[in-house]
Amino acid sequence: MDNLFLGDKNMSILSYSMEENINLFKEIFNNDPTLIMREFKIQNNPNYRFLILYLDNMVDPNTIAGNIIKPIVYLDQDVEIRNIDFLKKQVIISAEVKSSRNLVDITNFILRGDTLLLMDESSEGLIIDTKGFKTRGIEEPELEKSIKGPREGFTESLGDNITLLRRKLETKDLKFQHKTIGTSSRTRACITYLGDRIDKEILEEVNRRIDAIQIDGVLSVKSIHELIDDESFSIFEMAGETEKPDILASKLLEGRIGILLDRTPNAITIPHLFIENFQTSEDYYTNYFSGTIMRLLRIFGFWLTISFPALYLTLVTYHKAVIPGPLLLSIYGSRQGVPFPTIVELTGLFIVFEILIEAGSRTPSYIGQALGIVGALVLGSTAVEARIVSSTMIIVVGISSISALMLPSMKSQILMIRAFLLFSSTIFGIYGYTLAMSALLIHLFSLRSYGVLYMSTMNSLYGKDLKDTYFRGPRWYIENKKLGDKK
């Protein structure tokens, strides 16, 4: 099971001698000064020797002192301890105490922040829950800010996250399955779903894929769903990510499977449909008319951000006849004296814009402000005044880039699609645009997320199928909606 103990069977269980055990652990945790071993005895009875073992900073020292050491030290002096079970049942004050002699288990628990209690001449140790490390408090996630509705977000602690989720869904049908992933990181993952509405096939498939994972370390959910997703060669994500318990809860209510991962505040939801990129929790927290309008606006924004530069380019360089006269003259005027061809101007500006965004997202907020001024005002307006770029181009790039900010979950996909459309439009004009767009749609409609069509019901002509896709139907209408067809 664990590399550390492979090949040395003698080491896999505790020994009766305390000295030997001490040496065992010293060997396991060699070069690790955070391992604390403390020996103690009952106050007036030196016959029994005890040893506690824990990792510094992973435990709550007060719990160890008050609930383990103190009750034992103050034991009656003529008490007779026949085995360690007596301590487990009658002395130690802790909600969770296990006895074990398996070294692998014990080591894992110590690594997780538990404390091992050993008694002389006993080959069993007690593992006592003393976890006490610092975790971040519950905060609102930066990426999924909402004006209405709950603000709390997941933290890095799996336990807290499960609690947050449970508080959204107080039902016995909410199930959790624990898995451990990563040979070195030993990260706990938790598959969660509502048992009464889950598609058993998908659940089995997810279980099977997670069990098959062979990876050294897991530090983010991305490494998991990259390993278990279908369509590894697509630019689109086949699993959704969220940092908000209310969003995860709503996905579970729709019959999806969630995967929570210890040490990251992100949860995965599967299957994931294309339309989910356009849905926000706020759609459901506001009136359904405004929800629908905002969703249509986001879909339009997606089209705009991927197509606008390509369409502008093909109209201006290939199909000038289509542009209304006054507009053509205005573009004509702004292009005067610009030394670069339109395509160079366009790609150059996009690269600069992306650099600004990337630089802005990695800088502290006080520099970020200055960056905005330098980027937008100084670079933008001076470039236009110096006739290095045309003013219409700034508008095109501006509209396209700002529309992209509406869909943060598809940031990189938008970038790639935009470049693809731009490339084919440059070479073939409007035909290139049409062909590239068709290729994109064919690709999208051929994708599957865990057996469910990625574009499920998006091409349907029946209002019933579209009640929560392009439109956010009223609650009484979208209740009991189906996840999507698996055909």
Partner: protein
């Protein structure tokens, strides 16, 4: 195999891509074109208004520049223009073509042939005939409100419907008409006008053609009557003489003209049913035409007035012009191809003898914001 297909796909991109790519600033955008002919050398004189741009501190200024070039053919003249502009003129944004009188008398067919063949030029170009000696005069005249002529005319197209004293005809229609036998094209005219001491252009009236050659002009009122007969009225005002020397102006909302042919005893009768819907737009007088009796009287007068006006106009055309500018022949051909076949050969004689019976049925909808006329006593 894979390598071969990659090479083939690359060739597809490299060989077929980009052939039409050109930057905006490498073209000169033409907006209006005036075509004349030099009677002595038989050379075409092409005047094109090209928009130049001047950058200012607050934005850009559009400056129209008129460039003249000559050539044995129109395409020759157009190509010769490159020697002046250095950039290729771009024809797609041309909205109006003005044809000079001299050229119109010689024949407009070559102009339309060139436009029809030019892949850049649109077939929705409006064709105007200059009433002045040359078309260049019109082009050089200053515009009243906009610098670029095309912009003004783009806007005027909608307004011409309200004026209804000018036929608006697209190049595609002219090309179509010229190819049909016994069809006499009618095109709008444009002339110079003097406003506050400055010369500008004025579009009103029409010119009629025989076999693509200019024959004569129709004055604005006759043009309106022509539009009535053609069922192309979109608006306009009809002034009806009322009691004594009072006048009532009727504003036309819409109008429908139906044409019927009757062949009785070797004679062709044309029945025109004109049904305009109007309201009372102005009363020059004090009689209350808005009362029940007044409206009835007004309708009677208006029906009769319009019937007489239209019948007189048609008679005048039959006698003076003698060409079927109303395209009765074409309509007869569609409605009664058998009759048309028997008289096709001498249609011109038949047209002069046709008896046209106009029947007018005006519908007066209302009297706009007020009812009774203002009484000064």
């Amino acid at each position: 195999m894979k390598k071969v297909s990659i090479v083939l796909i690359l060739n597809l991109l490299l060989l077929s891509g980009c052939w039409d790519y050109s930057e905006v600033e490498d073209i000169s955008i033409a907006s209006t074109m005036a075509i004349d002919i030099d009677k002595d050398t038989k050379e075409y004189i092409l005047n094109v208004e090209i928009t130049d741009i001047e950058g200012t501190s607050t934005g850009i200024n559009l400056i129209p520049v008129i460039i003249e070039s000559r050539g044995k053919s129109l395409i020759d003249a157009a190509r010769n223009m490159i020697s002046i502009t250095a950039k290729t003129p771009y024809w797609s944004h041309i909205n109006i073509i003005i044809i000079g009188q001299d050229l119109a008398r010689e024949g407009i067919a070559p102009v339309l042939d060139w436009i029809g063949r030019n892949p850049e030029a649109r077939l929705s170009i409006k064709v105007f005939i200059s009433k002045e000696k040359t078309a260049k005069e019109i082009l050089s005249a200053r515009q009243k409100f906009t610098k670029i002529r095309t912009f003004e005319h783009e806007r005027l197209q909608d307004s011409y419907g309200i004026l209804s004293k000018l036929p608006i005809i697209r190049a595609s229609r002219v090309i179509n008409q010229l190819q049909q036998v016994e069809l006499f094209t009618v095109l709008p005219t444009v002339e110079l006008a003097n406003i506050e001491g400055k010369t500008t252009s004025k579009s009103i009236g029409a010119a009629h053609f025989k076999e693509a050659k200019l024959v004569g002009y129709l004055d604005p009122l006759d043009t309106m009557k022509y539009l009535f007969i053609q069922d192309e009225i979109e608006g306009g005002v009809v002034i009806i003489p009322g009691n004594d020397d009072e006048r009532v102006s009727l504003n036309i909302y819409k109008s429908k003209t139906k044409i019927k042919f009757e062949f009785k005893g070797e004679r062709l009768y044309v029945d025109l049913n004109v049904k305009p819907t109007v309201d009372i737009a102005e009363i020059n007088g004090e009689f209350d035409y808005t009362s029940m009796a007044g409206i009835e009287m007004l309708k009677e007068k208006a029906d009769l007035y319009m019937k007489n006006e239209l019948e007189t106009f048609i008679k005048d055309v039959q006698e003076d012009i003698g060409n079927d500018i109303f395209a009765f022949g074409n309509k007869l051909k569609k409605a009664h191809p058998d009759i048309w076949k028997s008289i096709e050969g001498d249609w011109n004689e038949v047209f002069r003898e046709v008896e046209v019976r106009v029947n007018c049925d005006i519908k007066i909808k209302g009297s706009r914001n007020t009812t009774k006329p203002i009484k000064t006593k």
